[in-house]
Symmetry: C2
Subunit: 148 residues, 2 copies
DNA sequence: ATGCCTGCAAAATATTTGCATGTAA
DNA sequence: TTACATGCAAATATTTTGCAGGCAT
């Protein structure tokens, strides 16, 4: 059950043996690669990464991991509720380490995703889901570009 | 200037020589392929299509057009302001013939985009764009799935 | 005639998968 | 030991591009 795991996301903020526990709880073996990636993802504040970017970072850090494993790991983390997928650009998939409800800026010039720093966004006038459907998530993406 | 062209989008609702005029106004030669695609896109009500789907439709209708040309045409139409790109699914790009301000349902089970049928959505508490940036567009995507 | 279009195939990108090898339990 | 993970390369999928020939003006 991902809800239970989600409650332990806070543990991810710190380094160390803690990551091992979280991975276990998610049903994922704490392998060298997964631990290294989790450390990159959760070692600091919240982040938005693409598979390509995370792989480059790991490589720079001297962590040996294949791009395919990065993709697989990101998907596993997402399925476990440890990451959230953000769809802003058709060409690339971004993952957000912040799984709580919030929205995003997408900086068009830089292909970069940033959290919208307030929680004050309210959406009113949302219609009901079409018959027989339920709403799973509401995404607000504010596209911005530099003042040319 | 796309603003000017945009004012003529209404002309696209009807078939006939009108499409020729609109394409001309957009700086696009009214070729057989473009006219056929424009007719599919604007011949009825508003639609959401992917390149693949539009190509299949054209082929079924006996219109000979290559997939590459469909991609190119969709991009040209978008650049001319005749279509709007909707990013909801990382795997596929959708184009919306409705270029006015509105938002979308994304039906996850079917990979389908639907306009949200009201104009009543209001978003409050939107922060300013980051320094030196301006907001180009706000997208609201309501993801729905069937009640399992 | 001239320059923009089209189709085809090939390239470019992003992501997934099959399989042999390696490793956690 | 046994099941699950990893790495590599190849497969897939989507979209773009180069180029030779075609069509609109």
């Amino acid at each position: 059950m991902t809800a239970h795991i989600g409650n332990h996301r806070q543990m991810l903020g710190s380094r160390g043996p803690c990551l091992t526990a979280v991975l276990r709880m998610a049903g994922l073996r704490p392998t060298r690669q997964r631990l290294a990636l989790a450390d990159l993802l959760y070692g600091g504040g919240h982040r938005h990464v693409s598979a390509e970017a995370l792989h480059a970072e790991a490589t720079t850090d001297g962590v040996t991991v294949s791009l395919a494993t990065v993709y697989n790991t990101l998907r596993q983390f997402k399925d476990a509720g440890l990451l959230r997928e953000v769809t802003v650009d058709a060409a690339r998939t971004y993952f957000d380490t912040n799984t709580s409800d919030h929205h995003h800026f997408f900086i068009e010039d830089e292909d970069r995703v940033v959290d919208i720093p307030t929680n004050d966004i309210e959406i009113s006038g949302l219609p009901d889901a079409p018959k027989g459907m339920k709403i799973t998530h509401v995404d607000v993406v504010v596209r911005v570009k530099s003042l040319s």
